[in-house]
């Protein structure tokens, strides 16, 4: 896959300029990715900002063995998992158990209709998957990485990923059907 950094020589730029470039290039997808992990926009915002600050501090150590995009994904996923493991998350999860998928301002009739649609059910079902399945499904189907790329991003071998993908899909089907989703 041709990536944006192929055309942009970030190594010849100041780190600050490179970060601005990366934010504009990947900020949107990273924040959406983080949301699929933490299911909370406020936390997704904090974590995403943190990802780019981390990227800035580590930029000089980047070896260039993989695409910057994969590297940013690795940082984002690790940060998200750190958060999910944190005491803070566990504490607030009691009071903040469920956040709606759509943003808080989505209150129009049209959006209500969408919320009841199959797509909404599918999206909700994906977010309800256990984390180990969700991350593979998200990276494979949503972010469209290959299993090899996912393997390098989350550090799990491809065989295990294949298994998780199959099980994740089956589990997803189960949840989706329970919600009344149609094939």
């Amino acid at each position: 896959m041709s990536t944006a950094e192929d055309e942009f020589d970030w190594r010849s730029e100041r780190n600050e300029d490179a970060i601005v470039y990366f934010m504009r290039q990947y900020g949107e997808e990273i924040k959406r990715l983080v949301y699929t992990f933490v299911k909370n926009w406020e936390q997704a915002e904090d974590i995403t900002q943190d990802v780019f600050v981390t990227l800035y501090t580590k930029l000089d150590t980047f070896r260039g063995d993989s695409a910057v995009r994969s590297w940013i994904y690795t940082i984002a996923i690790n940060r998200s998992k750190d958060y999910l493991r944190s005491w803070h998350h566990r504490k607030i999860s009691f009071t903040d158990k469920w956040m709606p998928l759509t943003s808080a301002s989505s209150t129009t009739i049209e959006e209500d209709v969408i919320q009841n649609s199959d797509n909404k059910m599918l999206a909700d079902s994906v977010l309800e998957l256990p984390l180990k399945y969700r991350e593979v499904v998200i990276l494979y189907y949503y972010k469209q990485f290959s299993l090899k790329e996912i393997s390098s991003i989350i550090g799990v071998n491809e065989g295990t990923l294949k298994t998780r993908l199959i099980r994740g899909r089956n589990k997803l089907q189960e949840i989706y059907e329970k919600k009344g989703g149609r094939e």
Partner: protein, 481 residues
């Protein structure tokens, strides 16, 4: 589903928000934080654009999540003790490759039968029960147990599932072990018909060697293959004749056939399909290291060591403490008066010697749901039996979760052990591997019974024992013996 998932990108993006979520505000916040870092003079200096050579220190470590070693069932050290042992054989139509042993102990006049069978795929889903029958009528009469029903999990046994069974049959009288040659019949049946049976024959009578090691179980949960969710549960049982049996449970079935065990003395054994390994010669309880070799789908072989030694269990102390409040201060043989002071919430039900109370102490185990209850039974005004009852979660019937359930059950036993018998002096918790298979008890009621037989105080190691009952449709009323 595959087709729908191929559109997941647009579906999720639309459902999350059709507007930009990463805004100029985020950008500004990041740049502000970077500025703060620069002012704090911790901005890293770029050394070179060339890829840097990094030295990776790989720390290979296996985080063994916990061990639990149990010393129990001290074998009588009798030189005259005879042991009858036979490997099960003869695969039949319903269950393939039954394996196991029958041991007759003339000192205690008990016949211990344990083994395992694997369900053949063409008979998947057939509910079954099992019984052991003494084939020789005269022996059966003398022994007083013409047939013994073995607890089998209610529900279906899936294709390829191993089922491990164990039964200790107390006999009324000592029997001539050689007469058992005619033998013991193991019968699998359901409500409609006998599914299959086989007879243990050609028994070999041996003078039992003096026991060198008592039975020891080691449970190890290890991370393997870098996948924190793939766990290998290795259990090593040292038998009194100084051989060992290794039973493992891999919670990811894709890898179950790719595990081998190697003992430090370089005996290598290969795991059979049902996970029971042939005996390893001459292991030493405190010294032996089991090397587990684990091959993944790519052919890569990983290995790690399982040291066999005493260690603490993985039981969550917080949870144990939470549940322990219901049992704190209870002792076997406690008088009813004292019991009422310690457990005032227990309510007398149906029988003057039967008290029970509701609790949610066990719902923190993933397989349990809703209220659980604890009942206390007195015999001759002394506390003689405690039963715990809980309902299993009906979600525990899926392929992916059944191994989790088995692991959870192992944890439950460790947990109960800690509560009831932290000094490991009184209770004989059943061997994990031979406990009822939890895979098929989804959505049913399970009871764990702790008994104390006050009539045999002279043998304290054996006067308390535990059974696990899958209640199913029964009303679960306690039986006073």
């Amino acid at each position: 589903m595959e087709k729908k998932l191929s559109n997941l990108n647009s579906i999720l993006n639309d459902e999350m928000s059709t507007e930009k979520v990463f805004t100029a505000k985020d950008e500004a916040a990041v740049l502000r934080k970077i500025e703060e870092l620069r002012y704090a003079k911790i901005k890293p200096k770029r050394k070179s654009y060339a890829p840097q050579v990094l030295t990776a220190a790989v720390v290979a470590g296996i985080a063994f999540a916990g061990y639990e070693v149990m010393n129990y069932e001290k074998a009588p050290n009798s030189a005259e003790k005879k042991e009858v042992k036979e490997q099960f054989a003869a695969p039949n139509e319903q269950f393939s490759e039954p394996k196991g042993t029958v041991t007759y102990d003339p000192d205690t006049k008990t016949l211990d039968v344990k083994g395992s069978v694997v369900n053949k795929s063409q008979h998947a889903g057939v509910p079954f029960k099992m019984k052991l029958a003494l084939k020789n009528p005269s022996i059966a009469e003398a022994a007083g147990v013409p047939e013994v029903l073995v607890d089998v999990p209610k529900g279906e046994m899936r294709a390829g599932d191993p089922f491990r069974f164990a039964s200790s049959i107390p006999l009324d009288a000592e029997i001539d072990p050689t007469a058992l040659e005619n033998g013991i019949e193991v019968v699998f049946y359901n409500d409609e018909s006998v599914l299959s049976s086989y007879i243990i024959s050609d028994l070999v009578v041996n003078e039992a060697a003096a026991p060198k090691a008592t039975a020891i179980n080691v449970e190890t949960l290890s991370e393997v293959n870098g996948d924190e969710d793939t766990q290998l549960n290795v259990q090593v049982t040292f038998e009194k004749n100084n051989s060992a049996e290794i039973v493992y449970v891999m919670n990811d079935e894709n890898y179950r056939k790719n595990v081998t065990f190697e003992v430090r003395d370089e005996n290598v054994v290969t795991v059979s399909e049902d996970g029971v390994v042939e005996a390893v010669e001459n292991p030493t309880a405190d010294e032996t290291v089991i090397i587990v070799k684990y091959q993944d789908e790519t052919g890569e072989v990983l290995e790690f060591e399982v040291p066999v030694k005493l260690a603490e269990s993985e039981v969550d102390e917080g949870k144990a403490a939470e549940a322990r409040q219901y049992f704190e201060g209870l002792t076997w043989g406690m008088s009813k008066e004292k019991f009422r002071k310690i457990v005032p919430n227990a309510v007398a039900k149906n029988h003057p010697d039967y008290y029970s109370m509701k609790t949610d102490s066990f719902t923190h185990f993933n397989f349990a749901k809703g209220d659980s209850s604890i009942s206390y039974i007195f015999k001759e005004n002394k506390l003689a039996k405690i039963s715990i009852s809980f309902n299993t979660n009906e979600n525990y019937d899926t392929e992916t979760s059944r191994y989790d359930a088995e692991d959870q059950f192992s944890q439950l036993y460790l947990f109960l052990y800690k509560i009831f018998d932290p000094d490991k002096k009184n209770l004989n918790i059943p061997d994990y591997s031979f406990a009822p298979n939890p895979w098929n008890i989804s959505g049913t009621e399970v009871k764990v019974h702790f008994y104390v037989n006050l009539e045999k105080p002279e043998t304290p190691e054996h006067d308390a024992y535990t059974t696990i009952e899958i209640v199913g449709q029964s009303d679960g009323q306690p039986i006073l013996k």
